[in-house]
């Protein structure tokens, strides 16, 4: 009788990178569905353009680096990067925005740093930030919810907006986002603002469409938690810090208020960031304590940039800034190894 001789761990989940990535992709479905219902098919065009570009770039650069192309394409990580970038980009933006963003994300942020598993920054967020600081006008035009602009652009309108023919102008569809409305308001009480602005008036807490999309991403995030693809630490820390900060500066809705906690939790890219971006195992912190610190830092920065910065949303900047800090956080949150009195630091001298 031959005994199987294998080293530990003996219990295996059978998870491969591709399986994890596909679960993440599947978990974005409710959020994407909400975006399609409220803002039309723009997000699907973005995702398609991003995916095609990202996979082409991935194949080209993996080939250039003399690595097995099919192996790296099959792990779906480039697809998930493209998916997240496509969701984050404003719908109906010109076609070259997703193309530049996705190629930047894959070539610059991922492969120049060593490829899968080596990127210090979240590739999707690098792509987004490069676009945001390069093309601020195109990147800050977000269409209004379908019910407010009398129907989202149809397929032919959408294609003509994206590929720039037919003479449609996206300005006809764009409206200020709830976060913009609240941030730029300095004259009326929040309650009056909620009554006069249609996007806030027709929504429940954080603007029509936006709250549904965020709710969708929250559902998807809970699915990932349930499947144990991600842990609760980073999302809970981020959402908790964001709630705390917005509670501190809410001042029950004066004209100088920076918005209610519900607005901050359910508007912008909060839930997408909390469950899909900051849970990236590569560019985030490693230990559970580290994840708590990382998430809290992101939540704090998101609030600071949203309230006192000049950009429409802050998740991408906050995530990149905390990615910078992740190695330091990891160094100070190393768990104690069994048998050692205290946790060691990566900077400690080797024991002799």
């Amino acid at each position: 009788m031959s005994l199987m001789r294998a080293t530990s761990p003996h219990a295996r989940a059978g998870d491969s990178t591709a399986k994890v990535m596909l679960q993440v992709a599947a978990a974005t479905l409710p959020g994407v569905l909400a975006l399609v219902i409220y803002f039309g098919i723009g997000v699907l065009i973005n995702i398609a353009l991003c995916s095609i570009t990202a996979l082409a770039c991935e194949a080209a650069i993996v080939k250039l680096r003399q690595r097995p192309v099919a192996f790296y394409l099959k792990d779906c990580s480039a697809f998930v990067t493209a998916l997240l970038l496509g969701i984050a980009l404003p719908p109906y933006c010109p076609w070259w925005l997703p193309v530049i963003g996705a190629s930047t994300a894959i070539v610059l942020a991922k492969h120049l740093y060593g490829g899968m598993g080596y990127n210090p920054f979240n590739p999707a967020m690098v792509g987004y930030v490069v676009l945001l600081i390069s093309f601020p006008v195109d990147m800050t035009r977000w269409v209004g919810p379908a019910e407010i602009i009398n129907g989202a652009p149809g397929i032919d309108e959408a294609l003509s907006l994206v590929f720039g023919f037919g003479g449609y102008n996206v300005d006809g569809f764009t409206r200020a986002t709830p976060l913009d409305i609240v941030r730029l308001n300095e004259s009326v009480l929040l309650s009056q603002l909620y009554a006069t602005e249609p996007v806030l008036d027709q929504g429940t807490v954080a603007g029509l469409g936006w709250e549904a999309a965020n709710f969708g991403f929250l559902i998807g995030g809970l699915f990932l938690l349930f499947r144990r693809v991600i842990t609760w630490h980073a999302p809970v820390a981020m959402l908790g810090t964001l709630t705390l900060m917005s509670l501190l500066f809410y001042d029950s809705g004066s004209s100088l208020s920076e918005g209610s906690p519900m607005l901050h939790l359910f508007s912008g890219a909060t839930m997408l960031g909390a469950f899909f971006i900051i849970t990236d195992p590569v560019s985030g912190a490693t230990s559970n304590k580290g994840r708590l610190t990382f998430g809290a830092g992101v939540g704090l920065l998101v609030y600071i940039i949203r309230a006192w910065g000049s950009y429409p949303d802050a998740v991408a900047f906050a995530v990149l800034l905390m990615n910078f800090a992740a190695p330091t956080i990891d160094n100070y949150t190393l768990p104690r190894t069994y048998g050692h009195k205290s946790a060691r630091r990566a900077t400690d001298l080797e024991e002799r």
Binding site: I100, I133, S134, F135
Partner: protein, 236 residues
Amino acid sequence: MTAPYGEISRNGLWSNNPALVQLLGLCPLLAVTGSVVNAIGLGLATTGVLTCSNLAVSLVRRQMPDTVRLPASVMIIATFVTCAELLMKAFTYELYLVLGIFIPLIVTNCTILGRADAFASKNPVLPSLVDGFMMGLGFTLVLITIGAVREVLGQGTLFADMDLLLGPMAADWTISVMGPDYPGFLVAVLPPGAFLVAGLLIAAKNTIDASIERRRSQQIKVMPGAKRVRVTGKIT
């Protein structure tokens, strides 16, 4: 003895290029290469200062005791930088305003002190002069390359505002590479763009060097005639 001018030139322009190999003078390299005209302006000023300072340091190299060699070099360099600054104020005032603090900052450019100390203080006058000029030229060429890439990507033009440097005759030299509707890839003009372009340029240089090296080693391997291989006795 004839000094190896070819060697000196190749060092300055390619194999020991101050910007691509020594990575000296990165501050102006990254800060002012947003356009070709800025790059040429700063490159010329740096080349002028570098050539003159190498010449002067080489002239007084026997009189300088080791203890004050560095301070004396810095004083000489500062003098020439002041000259360059005053000259630019006199003849290309608009460009001087654009380049701003980076003209006086040439004095802290490590390339210049580096060449003064590493070459001019040990070598005769003429080789030092050639070294200063070639190092400056190599630096300028890298500046212009980065400036051109960043200007094309960031603004879609090439040689815009050349009249700041060359006077009214260059006023219409602007070439619109990307067409009038180009939205401008702003990140190329911002500091990150400088880091990216400089990094890619260094990578390109290393790739070229590696391929030259590979070709050379392949050429050596081909030897005429069969080679006897020793199969008996003690093989070490």
